[in-house]
C-alpha cells in the first residue's frame, strides 16, 4: 500500500525523466547539427533569424532564445566570423545592431530544415495528435509553476 500523496513518487519521477529527456534531446541535436558544424544554439539563432527578414536586435534574440544578452554577443560573433550572419547598424537606435542572415546563412538554413523537421517528427514516433496537444498543455503548466517557484524564491 502506497501512501496516497508520497512526496517522491511518480510525479517526482516525471520531473527527473523530463530533465533527462531534454538532456538527451539536446545531446542528440548536438550530434545532429555537427554535420553542418553548428551547435544547437547556433542553429536556433539561424532558425529564428530566418523568420525575421528585417533582422533582430541582440536583446530580442536573447529573449526569444531565453538567454542572457551577454551570451548573444559571442554566439553572433562566431556566426558572423563564418559569414552566416551580419550585424547592421540600426538607424533608429544607435545602441542596437540589426542581426540578420547573410545569403550564405539563408542557404544553409534552407538546406538543414527538411532534415531537421524529419528528425523532429521521428522523435515522437506514433504519438497521437491528441496526446501531443495534451502534452504541450501539461508542459506549459509545468513551466509556469517552475517560473512561479523561482520568482517566489528569489524575492
Amino acid at each position: 500500500m502506497t501512501s496516497p500523496s508520497a512526496t517522491p513518487g511518480p510525479r517526482y519521477q516525471a520531473l527527473l525523466q523530463l530533465l533527462r529527456t531534454a538532456d538527451t534531446l539536446w545531446n542528440a541535436s548536438r550530434v545532429f547539427f555537427a554535420r553542418w558544424n553548428l551547435s544547437p544554439s547556433q542553429f536556433n539563432v539561424l532558425n529564428l533569424l530566418y523568420d525575421q527578414p528585417k533582422g533582430c536586435s541582440q536583446i530580442k534574440l536573447g529573449r526569444l532564445l531565453v538567454m542572457h544578452r551577454s551570451n548573444v554577443t559571442g554566439l553572433v560573433d562566431r556566426l558572423e566570423a563564418r559569414a552566416l550572419v551580419c550585424r547592421r547598424d540600426n538607424s533608429t537606435d544607435r545602441r542596437a545592431f540589426n542581426v540578420m542572415l547573410t545569403p550564405a546563412g539563408k542557404k544553409l538554413i534552407r538546406q538543414i530544415q527538411p532534415h531537421y523537421h524529419k528528425a523532429a517528427a521521428e522523435v515522437w514516433g506514433g504519438l497521437p495528435l491528441k496526446r501531443a496537444n495534451q502534452l504541450v498543455a501539461e508542459l506549459i503548466a509545468v513551466s509556469a509553476n517552475a517560473e512561479c517557484i523561482a520568482e517566489r524564491v528569489s524575492t
Copy 2:
C-alpha cells in the same frame, strides 16, 4: 482542414515546448539552489552520493549524471574545496577514486532535501497520478528515439 501528418504541427510544438520547459526547470532550480550556494549539477552530485554510502568512482558519477568524465573532475574539485565531498583512494583500482560525501556534505543534503521534494511536487500542480505515469512512459520513448537518431547520424 489540417493535413493529417503535416511535418511541423503539434508534435513539433511538443518538442520545442519540452526543451523550453526543461530549460525553465533548470533555470528555476539554479535560482532555487542558489540559497545554498550550489549549482543544479552540484546538487545532483551530492544527491546521488547520498544514495551511495560506499562512494562512487568519477566515471560512474559521470554516467549517472549523463556527463563526460572530464566534467566530473572540476565538479568534484569545487565540491572538495568546500569540503562537501572527498576523494578516497580505491583499494581495488588504483586508477579510480572513491568520491563520497563528507559529514558536512551529508548534513547539507539532508537540510535541502525536504525543500527540494516540496518544490518538485509543486511543479506538477494537480497532475493526476495516471497522467504522470503516462508522461514518464512517453518521455522515455522520446529519449530512446532521440538516442537512436543520434547514433544513426554519428555512425
